[in-house]
């Protein structure tokens, strides 16, 4: 073959690669697992940067309207059940702990432990979504879903009703977007539970679980911001 490469020569053709260690999960375009790990970790961080800007737009709009309609916002937040929200927050933080333990398990090649922790994360996430669905159903029953289904009237001060509807737009929008991220996380967890059980991960190769962890913690942190903004700050109204 006579095309030009920078290290040219027939002797290369027969020669095996210098780094003969080919891990089964090393993708062909990476030199080694270290490079692959660094690339995929950086990729997830970049993705999370996008996510911050995405949720950031939501938070900005929330802030603007909170300033425009402070009373309606207070009334809307007051209407939320803070006990249920607190329980859900604890559940979600618990799932972050089990996720972190799963990463530790993968790094130390504890196959059963890793799988167990991933399953636990899935279960706690499921509890969170179940509680969320329960809350949604109550809001919808109360006529708080924005749009044509919005029949709620704020009796103490009916002039706040329009503002409360806007609050509920943000409530459903932000928690809904958060829940969507959790559902995507579910899909990933199911996939990784299978792989963890199969024994894919160990000291050398654990980046998928680590990246899954980054994602899960991020979704958790979003909730840590949503919870006070939507449930707690109501100025004692």
């Amino acid at each position: 073959m006579s095309d030009v490469t920078l290290h040219h020569g027939a002797e290369h053709a027969a020669e095996p690669h210098a780094h003969a260690h080919h891990h089964p999960f090393l993708q062909h375009h990476f030199e080694d697992l270290g490079q692959q790990h660094e690339a995929s970790t950086l990729g997830m961080w970049m993705f999370l940067a996008t996510e911050i800007l995405f949720f950031g737009g939501f938070f900005l709009a929330y802030t603007v309207y909170r300033n425009m309609y402070p009373e309606a916002w207070a009334a809307g937040a007051h209407h939320q059940n803070w006990m249920v929200g607190t329980i859900n927050t604890i559940v979600l933080i618990g799932s972050s702990l089990s996720m972190a333990l799963a990463v530790y398990g993968a790094q130390t090649a504890k196959r059963k432990f890793t799988t167990l922790m991933l399953v636990l994360t899935l279960l706690l996430g499921g509890v969170f979504l179940g509680v969320k669905a329960y809350e949604y159903s109550i809001h919808i029953e109360e006529g708080l879903f924005p749009g044509s289904h919005f029949t709620y009237v704020h009796h103490a001060d009916p002039s706040l009703t329009r503002g409360i509807e806007l609050f509920m737009v943000f409530y459903f929008g932000m928690t809904g977007m958060h829940a969507l991220h959790m559902v995507i996380g579910f899909g990933l967890l199911l996939y990784f539970i299978r792989r963890a059980w199969r024994g894919d991960f160990g000291e050398e190769y654990y980046s998928p679980i680590e990246i899954m962890g980054l994602y899960w913690h991020f979704v958790d942190i979003v909730w840590i911001f949503l919870f006070p903004l939507l449930y707690l700050i109501h100025g004692g109204a």
Binding site: V4, T5, H8, G43, A61
Partner: protein, 553 residues
């Protein structure tokens, strides 16, 4: 006149082109549709954006036909509204934003880095599919009756009053946004983690620096567009007042959010153009780019400053005069890094023996037109002038000088420059020069009269106008016809060259860069062996020496 005006002719004979390359490695439609090879994905993108370019161009041409006469005689005003809306949406979201990054960047960036592929090949393919899904929404809208909000989807018109396909259109733009996020993410990680041994940051070609800056903007600005359009869709579906003042919303918030993306999006479009121009200037002057580090950092500066100026689109929208002053001042700042680039390119060309092949003609076009577009941008940045010419054809001419005179020129220049690498064939030089000339003349004839007619008061977005504007409008339409010929011609001769073009060697331009160190077209893995970089960017003697050494092994 022959095409080999470069005296230090390539030292690789054309016959040495590799037998196996990325094109003939596998056959069949599925081998393309399921490929993870960045080069094949670039080709998929090339076909798609070219098709959509001509769709967008069709609408532009219809508008120019209507504007031949002052009366609104050819189309109704509703139809005309749809034409300018679809022209803007198709050109911006489906052509200008993906064109250079997803076609040239996808193909060349990993090769420039000496990498086998982008960091995430599957995500790269996914981004093309996402783009196509967005494009299908766009086509659906076009076929079923269009949309008339203008490409900016201003509320409350888009949420409350327009009865056209606003939802499907915003959905298409929303979806397409994710394809550019994924492309940007892929590029950033690839530049950080996939550089060949020896390829330090300051040895990177300026193309890479500029593409990196573009990627940062894609990554950080596009999600804001996504959430903005998502809120718009929620508002439209539920009829709640997020942006509609009648229902308690704030229409200015929409404009803030929209321009927080859409101003940086201007840099998503122009930075890749600058990326291409830097490579072309270096290749055809056979010199190091003057002030390499200044050009490199000016890309990052543009990306950064681009995030701080969005409200200059809202000077007459009712924002406070103090914030308008600040945004006016910051906008003028963006001119500094842009001017640094222009000065450095011209300084590179100074006293160089320039070879005037087609790509270099596009460089000249770019520098001239981008400068005019940039300087008129400064006019518009000044508060007093902007209030006068706001929403007039002056603005239309200004951003066409940047986006068409800048981005499209650079894209065409880049396509010609890397065509031998992409296809293994040379394009016919004479025809290419003719088309570059047509594009340049046609472009100026189309858009320069719009500066004049806008300055004396012709508003944009109307299908009828006062009779005294007719002469300039006729000139503009005549220019558009020439421009169309200039754009159609390459379709013919580039297609012709695929079969009949002269075979290109490894390095037909005698340029510096890793892409000129592998065969044309490159093998599937780009290089047979990971290259080791021992030369600085555009260091001709060092590169030629390294090439000769590898040959003598």
């Amino acid at each position: 006149m022959t095409t080999t005006t470069i005296d230090e002719a390539p030292f690789i004979e054309p016959s040495t082109t590799a037998k196996r390359n990325y094109i003939n490695d596998e056959y069949g439609v599925m081998s393309w549709l399921l490929t993870r090879d960045h080069k094949r994905i670039a080709i998929l993108y090339m076909i798609s954006v070219t098709a959509l370019f001509f769709v967008g161009g069709f609408f532009a041409f219809m508008m120019r036909l209507e504007l031949l006469t002052p009366e609104g005689d050819l189309f109704t005003s509703d139809t005309y509204n749809k034409f300018f809306t679809l022209h803007g949406i198709v050109m911006i979201f489906f052509f200008l934003i993906p064109a250079i990054p997803a076609v040239l960047g996808n193909f060349i960036l990993p090769i420039m880095l000496g990498a086998k592929d982008l960091a995430f090949p599957r995500i790269n393919l996914l981004s093309w599919y996402i783009y196509m899904i967005g494009a299908i929404f766009g086509i659906y809208v076009i076929v079923t009756g269009g949309v008339d909000t203008g490409w900016t989807f201003y509320t409350p018109f888009s949420t409350q009053y327009s009865n056209t396909h606003v939802f499907a259109t915003t959905m298409g733009a929303f979806i397409t946004g994710f394809s550019s996020i994924l492309t940007g993410l892929n590029f950033i990680v690839t530049v950080h983690r996939m550089r060949a041994p020896g390829l330090t940051w300051f040895r990177l070609p300026l193309f890479v620096w500029s593409m990196y800056a573009t990627s940062v903007v894609m990554l950080l600005a596009t999600p804001v567009l996504a959430i903005t359009l998502a809120l718009l869709m929620i508002e439209r579906v539920l009829s709640v007042g997020i942006f509609d003042p009648a229902l308690g919303g704030d229409p200015l918030l929409y404009q803030h959010l929209f321009w927080f993306y859409s101003h940086p999006a201007v840099y998503i479009m122009i930075l890749p153009g600058m990326a291409v121009i830097s490579e072309l200037v270096a290749a055809f002057t056979r010199k190091k780019i003057f002030g390499y580090k200044f050009v490199a950092f000016s890309s990052l500066a543009i990306a950064f400053l681009g995030f701080l100026v969005w409200a200059h689109h809202m000077f007459v929208a009712g924002i406070s005069v103090y914030s308008a002053l600040v945004f006016s001042f910051l906008t003028m700042f963006v001119a500094v890094p842009s001017a640094i680039k222009v000065f450095n390119w011209t300084a590179t060309m100074y006293k160089a023996s320039v070879s005037w092949q087609t790509p270099m003609l596009y460089v000249l076009g770019f520098i001239g037109l981008f400068t005019i577009g940039g300087v008129t941008g400064l006019f518009l940045a000044a508060l007093g002038v902007d209030v006068h010419v706001h929403d007039s054809y002056f603005v239309v001419a200004h951003f066409h000088y940047i986006m068409v005179g800048g981005t499209v020129m650079a894209y065409l220049g880049g396509i010609h420059y890397w065509w031998p690498k992409i296809t293994g064939r040379m394009y016919p030089e004479w025809w290419a020069r003719l088309s570059a000339l047509l594009v340049f003349v046609g472009f100026n004839l189309t858009f320069f009269p719009q500066f004049l007619v806008g300055y004396v008061g012709m508003p944009r977005r109307y299908h009828a106008y006062a009779p005294e504007f007719q002469v300039l409008n006729v000139l503009s339409t005549a220019g558009a016809t020439v421009l169309a010929a200039g754009y159609l011609l390459p379709m013919i001769y580039l297609a012709w060259s695929l079969k009949f073009g002269r075979r290109a060697g490894v390095n037909p331009w005698g340029a510096v860069g890793l892409e000129w160190a592998t065969s044309s077209p490159p093998p599937k893995e780009n290089f047979h062996e990971t290259p080791v970089v021992t030369w600085d960017a555009y260091d001709y003697p060092a590169f030629l020496k390294a090439m000769k050494e590898t040959q003598n092994v």
